[in-house]
C-alpha cells in the first residue's frame, strides 16, 4: 500500500510528462493520419517504412525512447527506495528491540519511515554485513535468538525474514545439517580460509546449539523461564546460552555472496532432499537448487522408537516423547509438570540423565519417575557389571524407581493412562513415556547421492579423513569413519561431533589429516557420580579397574570448584554436565565399605591393548588417558599405568 504511493509519486511526474508527449503525438499522428487517408492510398504508403522515416516515426521513436528512459529511471528509483525502505524498517526494528519486544504489526504502522527514504539521498554503499548485522542482532541476552524464520514470536524472526527469503544458488562451502559438527566445521573453515563463505542448511528452526544441556544443566536451572531463555549456569557462575553463537554472529543467506569478508549463513527450516554428486548440487524441499564446491554432510540422526509403541496407535504416540531437540525439551518440561507418573524406557546415557533430572524434580513435585531397561543396571552396555550396579543404586537415590531386565511387550492407553506390559508379566501404569532407545543415523541422502552406508554401524561410510567422495565429507553422529587406532566406528557423542566437525572443516580447506585426536565423553548422574571416558568403552570387553577410597572431596562439584577452571572439562571441551548441588541435598556420605568405588580408572582391553578408559570421579586427567590410547601399547601391569593418573590426588 505504501509502496504504491511511493511508486505513484515517482511515476506521477513521468506519467504527466509522458502522457503529455503521448497526447501530443496522438494529436499529431491523428492529424497526420487524418489527413492522409483523405488523399490517396498511394500517399499513405509513401509515409510507410519503405518510404523512409516520416514525422510520425520520429515522434514514435522519441516517445518510445522517452518511455524507455523514464521506465529505467522509475525502475531504479523504486528499487533503490525498496532497499532504503527495507534498511530503514530493519533499523527501526532493531532499535525497537533494544526497548521491548513488539509484535509484527508494528512494522506496517510505520508510515513516517517510508516517506523518509524517499527524500533521503542514496545511501553510500555500506558493507552489507554491517546493516544486516544490526538487523539481526537481538539486544538482550534473553531474547530468543533462535528461528530467523519464525514469524509468530520475537522480532528477530521478522528481521531476517525478508532477507533470508533469497537462497543463494551457489556456495563454496555447503554444510548440510545445523548441529554441533556443522558448527565446528564452519568455524574451522572460517579460521583457515580467509573470507570463506559458508552456508549451513538445517531443517530445524533453530540456529546451531549444543545438546548436552538439554538433558542436564537446563533441568537444574532455578530460572522459571529457562525453557524460553535456554540459558544455564556453568560451574564458574557464568551463564551461557545453549546456542553456540547469537544470531549476530551469522550473516544472512542473501548476503553470503556479497559480504566482503564472507561469513557463515544459516538457512533454517529447509531440508536437503536430493543430492547430485556428479553435478555438485543439492535440492531443497522447496525445489530450490544450491550448487557447491565442497560439501559436508552432518545430518546427525533421529531418535529410535520402540516398535511396540509405534504400533500402539496415536493415543500412545501422543503420550510418548522422543528426546533430541529443543522442542522436545520444552514439551517434556511442560508435560512433566502436569502429570503424576513418567516412565523412561532406556538405560543408556540419555535415559539415565533424564531419569536423574526428573528424579530430582520429583522431590518437590511428587512426580513418580520410573526408568526401565533390558539390562541389569544403568549404563549396562558401557560400565562393567559391578560399576553398573553401583551406578544404579545412585540413580535410585535420586528418586528414580528402577525396573531392570524389562522388555516391553506392549503399550496401551486405558482411561487416559498408559499401560506398559512387560514380557515377564509385570504391568506398569504411567502417564507419559520418554523413549531413549538409541539414535538412527540420518542417511536419507545416501540414495540420491550414491554414497555408501555402513551395514555394521549405520551412517555414511567415510575414510580416515572423513571423506566420502573427493569433495564430500561427513562428520558427527552420521559418520561411520575409520579410526586409525581403534578401527572403524561410529560415535554419537558431543565431543566427537566437535572433533570430527573441526577435522572435516580442516580437510575441506586442504589439511588432509586423519582422525587422530581422540574425542572423549562424559556423564554425571547426580552429585556423586561423574565420569569422563575416551575410546571404546564397551562393557563386553574385559576390564581392569583401579580404585582408591572415596572421600567427600571426590565429587564432580568439588572437582570443578577446586580446579578453578569452572568447568571440569573446559580444558578439554565445552560445558560439562555437572549438576549444581541444591543446598537441600545432604553431602555425599563417606562410605568406609571396601567396595566403594569412589574414584578410579577403568581400562578396557582388546587383545591386551587398552582401547578405552573411564576416569571415574577423577577429573582433569584426560590428556593422559588420550596418550595411553594413542600409544596403543601392550602394558603388562595396568596398575603401573594407573599410577600415571594420580588417582589419590585431587
Amino acid at each position: 500500500m505504501l509502496k504504491c504511493r511511493t511508486v505513484w509519486k515517482k511515476l506521477a511526474p513521468l506519467a504527466r510528462a509522458s502522457s503529455t508527449v503521448c497526447r501530443q503525438n496522438v494529436r499529431r499522428t491523428a492529424l497526420t493520419n487524418g489527413r492522409i487517408p483523405s488523399s490517396a492510398p498511394a500517399a499513405h504508403m509513401s509515409t510507410g517504412p519503405a518510404g523512409g522515416i516520416g514525422p510520425n516515426q520520429i515522434y514514435a521513436l522519441v516517445f518510445g525512447t522517452a518511455c524507455l528512459g523514464g521506465g529505467i529511471y522509475a525502475y531504479r528509483m523504486i528499487k533503490g527506495d525498496k532497499q532504503r525502505y527495507q534498511e530503514r524498517i530493519d533499523e527501526i526494528e532493531s532499535r525497537k528491540h533494544k526497548d521491548k519486544k513488539e509484535s509484527d504489526t508494528t512494522i506496517q504502522s510505520e508510515p513516517p519511515a517510508v516517506e523518509a527514504p524517499v527524500t533521503e539521498a542514496v545511501p553510500e554503499p555500506e558493507p552489507q554485513a554491517a546493516p544486516s548485522a544490526e538487523e539481526t542482532s537481538p539486544p538482550a541476552p534473553d531474547a530468543e535468538v533462535a528461528a530467523p524464520s519464525e514469524t509468530t514470536e520475537t522480532p528477530p524472526g521478522v528481521d531476517s525474514e525478508p532477507a533470508s527469503s533469497k537462497i543463494p544458488s551457489h556456495t563454496p562451502y555447503l554444510l548440510i545439517g545445523g548441529g554441533t559438527a556443522s558448527f565446528a566445521a564452519a568455524r574451522s573453515i572460517r579460521a583457515r580460509d580467509p573470507g570463506a563463505r559458508v552456508l549451513i542448511v538445517t531443517d530445524e528452526p533453530d540456529l546451531p546449539y549444543m545438546r548436552p544441556p538439554l538433558s542436564k544443566e537446563l533441568w537444574f536451572s532455578d530460572d522459571p523461564s529457562v525453557t524460553e531463555t535456554l540459558r544455564f549456569k556453568q560451574w564458574n557462575g557464568k551463564e551461557r546460552s545453549i546456542y553456540f553463537q547469537p544470531a549476530s554472529f551469522y550473516i544472512t543467506a542473501d548476503e553470503l555472496n556479497s559480504a566482503e569478508n564472507g561469513g557463515v549463513a544459516v538457512l533454517t527450516g529447509k531440508k536437503v532432499v536430493h543430492m547430485d554428486v556428479r553435478g555438485n548440487k543439492v535440492k531443497l524441499d522447496d525445489d530450490t537448487e544450491i550448487s557447491y564446491d565442497k560439501c559436508l554432510i552432518a545430518t546427525g540422526g533421529v531418535p529410535r522408537n520402540l516398535q511396540v509403541i509405534e504400533r500402539a496407535g496415536d493415543e500412545v504416540m501422543a503420550k510418548t516423547t522422543l528426546f533430541r531437540k529443543i522442542d522436545d525439551f520444552k514439551s517434556l518440561d511442560k508435560v512433566s509438570r502436569n502429570i503424576q507418573s513418567i516412565t523412561i524406557i532406556g538405560g543408556g546415557f540419555l535415559g539415565s540423565e533424564l531419569a536423574c533430572a526428573l528424579g530430582r524434580r520429583s522431590n518437590e513435585s511428587g512426580l513418580e519417575v520410573i526408568q526401565m531397561y533390558p539390562e541389569k543396571g544403568n549404563m549396562g552396555k558401557v560400565l562393567p557389571e559391578y560399576l553398573s550396579n553401583w551406578t544404579t543404586e545412585k540413580v535410585k537415590k535420586e528418586g528414580v524407581k528402577i525396573i531392570s531386565e524389562a522388555l516391553v511387550k506392549s503399550v496401551t492407553c486405558k482411561d487416559d493412562k498408559l499401560e506398559i506390559q512387560l514380557k515377564d508379566g509385570r504391568l506398569v501404569k504411567t502417564d507419559h513415556i520418554v523413549a531413549a532407545v538409541g539414535l538412527e543415523p540420518n542417511v536419507d541422502l545416501a540414495k540420491s547421492a550414491g554414497l555408501e552406508v555402513d551395514s555394521d554401524f549405520g551412517g555414511f561410510r567415510v575414510n580416515a579423513e572423513l571423506q566420502a567422495r573427493s569433495n564430500i565429507w561427513v562428520a558427527g553422529d552420521a559418520a561411520c569413519f575409520y579410526d586409525i587406532r581403534l578401527g572403524r566406528r561410529r560415535v554419537e557423542h558431543h565431543d566427537h561431533a566437535v572433533v570430527s566437525g573441526r577435522l572435516a572443516g580442516e580437510n575441506m580447506t586442504g589439511a588432509n589429516k586423519p582422525y587422530w585426536h581422540q574425542s572423549m565423553f562424559w556423564s554425571d548422574l547426580g552429585p556423586d557420580v561423574g565420569y569422563e571416558a575416551i575410546g571404546i568403552v564397551d562393557s563386553s570387553l574385559p576390564t581392569v579397574g583401579v580404585f582408591a577410597k572415596a572421600t567427600a572431596k571426590d565429587t564432580p562439584k568439588a572437582a570443578t570448584e577446586k580446579s578453578g577452571t569452572g568447568i571440569r572439562s573446559e580444558s578439554e571441551t565445552e560445558e560439562t554436565a555437572t549438576s549444581p548441588v541444591a543446598s537441600s541435598l545432604p553431602p555425599p556420605a563417606v562410605v568406609q565399605h571396601k567396595d566403594d568405588y569412589g574414584k578410579g580408572v577403568i581400562f578396557y582391553l582388546r587383545d591386551k591393548v587398552v582401547v578405552g578408559i573411564i576416569l571415574w570421579n577423577v577429573f582433569n586427567r584426560m590428556p593422559i588417558a588420550r596418550k595411553i590410547i594413542k600409544d596403543g601399547e601392550e602394558h603388562a601391569d595396568l596398575n603401573e599405568v594407573a599410577k600415571l593418573f594420580n588417582i589419590h590426588e585431587d
Binding site: P141, G195, Q245, N261, Y386, P542, G545, F547, I567, H635
Partner: protein
C-alpha cells in the same frame, strides 16, 4: 595394602595412596612435536599462527575475524621494541569492528583494553580477555591447550607446547 578381585572378565584392584607412591614404570612413547596429525597449539612448528586453535575461540572465524587476524598477525611478527606498537591501526580496526557486535564481543572488556593508554599490549590483553570472557572461547573447544587461553595468547607460544607432551 591393595587388594585385587576378579569378577568374571573384569578385574578390580583397590589401591592405597602408599601403593601408588612409587613412580610408574609404565612406558609411554615419546611425543613428536612435529607430528602432522597432532592437534597444534596456538603457534605452529613453522612459527605461523594456528587460526584454528580452540584457544582462540571464535575470534578468527566470526564477523570480525579478518580484522582480528590482521591485528594479531601484525603483533606476532612485530619486531618493534614495544611489540605490536606498529599495529595500532590494525587493533583500532578490530576494536571498531567488535563494537558493532556487542553481543559477540562484550563491551566491558573493550573498555578495559582501551583505557590502558592505547598501548598495544593492552589491546592484546583486551583481546585475550575478550576471548576468555566472551562465550566464544570455551564454547566448543576440545583440546587441552584451551585450559589457559589468556596466558597462551599473551605469552605467545609457551603454553601450547607445554601441553603437548601431556596429550
Amino acid at each position: 595394602m591393595s587388594y585385587c578381585r576378579q569378577e568374571g572378565k573384569d578385574r578390580i584392584i583397590f589401591v592405597t595412596k602408599e601403593d601408588h607412591e612409587t613412580p610408574s614404570n609404565a612406558e609411554l612413547i615419546a611425543e613428536d612435536p612435529d607430528d602432522p596429525y597432532e592437534e597444534q597449539g596456538l603457534i605452529l612448528p613453522n612459527g605461523d599462527i594456528n587460526w584454528n586453535c580452540p584457544c582462540l575461540g571464535g575470534m578468527a572465524s566470526g564477523p570480525c575475524g579478518s580484522q582480528f587476524k590482521e591485528a594479531f598477525s601484525c603483533f606476532h611478527y612485530s619486531k618493534e621494541e614495544v611489540k605490536g606498537s606498529d599495529c595500532i591501526d590494525n587493533f583500532r580496526n578490530m576494536q571498531e569492528c567488535m563494537q558493532k557486535y556487542p553481543e559477540l564481543y562484550p563491551q566491558e572488556e573493550e573498555k578495559e583494553g582501551s583505557s590502558q593508554a592505547g598501548s598495544t599490549s593492552g589491546s592484546v590483553s583486551a583481546t585475550a580477555t575478550t576471548a576468555e570472557g566472551s562465550s566464544l572461547a570455551p564454547d566448543i573447544d576440545s583440546t587441552p591447550s584451551t585450559s589457559t587461553p589468556e596466558s597462551t595468547v599473551s605469552s605467545d607460544n609457551t603454553s601450547p607446547t607445554d601441553n603437548q607432551p601431556a596429550s
